[in-house]
Symmetry: D3
């Protein structure tokens, strides 16, 4: 049994509230336990310079934390005048992950801006961001698909992320909260598509290492957690949109 | 009758949800119509260098908007690498306003960090920030008062803020939303204490001017709106804390 | 009687030296007591991006202090690598104030750059900047008017600014010097047009508040001081240009 | 057969020249094919603030490219005034990886600064940096061990890194050069210790995904390449130091 | 005869107004033709970190131009967020030059901050800055010498600077104004002490070169101009202080 | 005899290795004693904004040091977020010097980017950079000349640089290493063309001064050292290219 009473492979309670904000094309408030992230998807009718004149779209993500999302107040990156390496790593990860399940040709020369703002943090903010941002993005792209003549439905699969880790006692656990994460020897983030393919796999020994067998245990745990997250996403997206994505996925 | 059906002196619906976040010493989600701001108050056990060794505390505020709080996505200040003049003006205003109703000697060498993060913007974000931040701060200071031996109860009065303006047709209105604010000829922010004293008065003709008589009309409108805001604050603070502040106010 | 022997409503000695620099289209050295500011107005034949293709002009201001304008040497903002909040507040105020008395349509797609560089500071640098910058700008715009075919004379009124405050003993005084300003409980900057309309009103209780009656006293004091400043401006501008502005003002 | 004539699991020619610079405590020039990196290890007798008074050491890495290390000249990060997200990701990876094989308690309150400067780039610069930096660091720590009374020999294992990927035709290849890397569907960096434990595993589908079976193929390829890299490191370190590390590894 | 009617070796009119500002320990307004610079010297009772605990003082200089000191308005370095290379070169030169004639041991652990702010520019701003800053600094150090127990009078010689150049027609001229400077083939700044020793010699061919013989002609011209500048400095410093420096110079 | 056994006018051993990198149009590794610099020349088919539409080319230089090029590790300028004054001074010097021996009209609207990266520093890094960069640039321009129809051969002369100085004992020495440079009273950098004309002369008394006679001794020393450097350059450039430059030089 874990610190907060969960089974090793049990996720924390997950809620995805859609249409959370009035301005963005898509937006959700996702909670995974005490971790809460506002994810929004904004559509801009141009692409960054390096993508111009290719007839393709682009997806880019930004990630931030409110100063008091954390136990100790953290200094705003706008006050520091620069974005930290951790933030950059996370926003590059979110953007890359989402691009794996979108047909960029289909959306034309448009940019989908993903904003993930962590309101409250208790571990797993980057995986909650990906899971929530996927829903906001799918809704925004669906709206775009309905109002503009796209070359086809642009979302090609579901996408979610979770963390797995090895605690100090060697136990493999899924969806680590902050206390577990701080003490874990190995920490792995797994981003997967609805049909079970890997998009990202980032495993890190924190002044520690892990064996081939432990890797297998970690991946099995991640798969169990992700299955549950896909169900939450489908519920949030509604039956119609979920079925459309499922159809795209089969092809 | 106004654009959204309100009377000239009518505020938009106001809600103040307290204890909105789990980590800060005080936090609220305030909504004034579609404007929504998360305000938190954090207590740090030291003061900035220019305040050291005076035995007094300090209150400082930071203000930010989510990129998609607005109709058009705005670029993060952390990405720009600098805080804009507008943001600086607002956070200086919030800090100064709150300091007017706190006995800084009573809190000792501590800093109260106020964070106002606008989740959704529809005009009046700076006045909603002050009104909400006051509640978060009062709760944080009350907790501090109860757990530490302070030299006395540190909050000396209520404090709220609203905007008033003169529309293109000359009508004086209270609590302008974004559409009204964009078109107003004169825009005034009024910060007042519970006992009716001015803390800040910032009136600006936007490529326009205003007369002595118009100033009076504006101030009368502000007073009406502020009376209603103080009621919302009292409800949010609860009877016990409200009475304690009322008592402090009388002295 | 005040610290430096002045009556409560008495300004410090004011001098406005025009054509102070050889390069700018308009420039003055204004002294208000020991406060000395070089104000220049430069005309650029384009507008910032957000104003393009509207057929209108723009006025923007920058404000700075020499490092040793002050008692203690202050660090250059170029060395810090950023402009402080105080500077931003002041330069936004100067630009906004001047725009209130210029017909932006008349000047076409041009930018008037106002530079206010404080050579020596003894309180009231922002109000001296506005008062001096107005003169530099009026001269620059007059030159422009004479050499280019504008749609009309672009200056619509006089404009000056002064500070008023409430000292610790409750006395209302006009044109505070640095010593008075540091100790004042309430500090108010008033920007007015020649025909007595408000352009900006910024009143601040410094860890203090002020009542409705005190507001009236402050405004009365400001009006007295401003009347005198308008006379200095007229003398600096010369009879011909002053009359032309007076004529524009009447319409 | 690959583009440059290599077998799928064949590394490019590897050379590690030790004592490349005269000033650092340890330094190498590593070449992996046309990729050339100068790696140096510097010992500083203090730790960063967050590590103070714990009696432990710290290892941190910086990574940079000469502007003309690449086909197209890239702009210096010092000219841009900021470090890019890619650079931050790489330097965090290098530091984290090296910390996994060093006993930080043994080195006391010292910082080992690792500098990896890419002189010429042809793919795999981050893995070459880790492989080369390990050698520079081991030599620097060995010198430290010999001259100061440490609590024990601080290096606990060998450490090397390589890349594996899946090309467009589905082939799994080891040690991708720039041309292969640009076109690969999946790209994975594997950091391993001498005794075959994972330290970091970063697999990324570039607008693509990969299956469980492909993951196995990738890891097998990585292991083959890493075995060869460990031999190069041992040769560079010399017999005595290699044996000492091998002994530490066994415990 | 030159463009503005001067003889080849004739300086422009020089004026040095002392005690120009009320706050600094020493300050002058120097004009060399239409070039006008406010130079101030401020004394701080500590030295920068790299000079601590050596019992010696330090002299450092900052240089800036008002935006409209020039024909075309130049953008403030505070707005750009960085100091240009030209500015850095000039301020390093001013500081280095002044340090050559001050006994840093005598002033103890103090920093002399030199600020040179160009009010109006017409060529030769860096040499006017050195010549004026010397006077401000000598007055500040003399005040320090009179009020604090120093180990001796700290100024060891006079110091002035001028420019010489070779025009397109091969003529060698002294004290180039902006028009001459822009067109000159060779430009040389010479900083000399009162007893005729070189402190700095910076000669530059602007897409041109110069011969050994031309170097001699340039140096002869500089010496003639500098002799005149020393006379202006002595007049500005007054008889008493000039004699004290002359005495120090002899030793 | 000097510290390292050299005669006063003796250079340290000089080596220039050409074609050091595979990507740049020209590149060398120059060593002057223990000072080692990688110099590369890159050709870009456009010019900076201020040079556009003049039909002329431009040459610009960047200079940097590896963090551990020096005895003490120096902090990267990319980490500091800004380029130091020293670096700016050096890169401006390198660019200006090279422009003196190139016919900018002949190369058309192209920019030659010079990158000088100091791998190891032992004094004289700026002069080694100029001497090495000249060779890299000449090779790049020669390639350009051979492949594109230029208006003529663009290199008009040889160019090299060395340092001379006066040690504490009054001795004039050539090519100072770091130990000598740190202790020298006078430090002078001389940049000369192959036909003996000065391009740059920068002499600085470090809290010291130098006389007219000492200047002559310094220049004589520089000339001797430069003669030797030109021989090294010719050898590196090869007979054919050296003769072509020699021919250009004669005209």
């Amino acid at each position: 049994m874990r610190f907060d009473g969960r089974e090793p492979q049990q996720l924390r309670p997950v809620h995805i509230e859609t249409d959370y904000l009035k301005h963005p094309e898509g937006s959700v408030l996702i909670s995974v336990g005490d971790t809460k992230v506002i994810c929004s998807a904004s559509i801009e009718d141009k692409v960054p310079p390096f993508m111009r004149n290719q007839g393709k779209g682009w997806i880019t993500a930004e990630y931030s934390m409110l100063p008091r999302a954390t136990e100790q107040r953290n200094i705003r990156e706008s006050s520091k005048g620069k974005v930290t390496g951790r933030t950059m790593e996370i926003q590059r990860l979110i953007g890359r992950a989402l691009r794996a399940v979108v047909n960029l040709d289909a959306i034309g020369e448009r940019t989908i801006w993903i904003d993930c703002d962590v309101i409250q943090a208790d571990g797993g903010t980057r995986t909650a961001s990906i899971t929530g941002a996927y829903v906001a993005m799918a809704q925004a792209l669906n709206k775009l698909y309905k109002t503009k003549k796209l070359k086809g439905f642009p979302v090609s699969d579901f996408l979610a992320a979770t963390s797995v880790g090895i605690l100090a006692d060697g136990q493999v656990v899924v969806d680590l909260n902050y206390v577990e994460d701080s003490a874990a020897h190995v920490d792995m983030n797994v981003v997967m598509t609805g049909n079970g393919e890997f998009v990202e796999l980032q495993g890190t020994g924190e002044e520690a290492t892990f064996s081939y067998n432990q890797l297998h245990e970690l991946l099995a745990g991640a798969q169990a957690g992700l299955a549950e997250l896909f169900e939450h996403q489908k519920q949030a997206l509604g039956e119609e949109l979920s079925e459309q994505i499922a159809k795209a996925q089969k092809r």
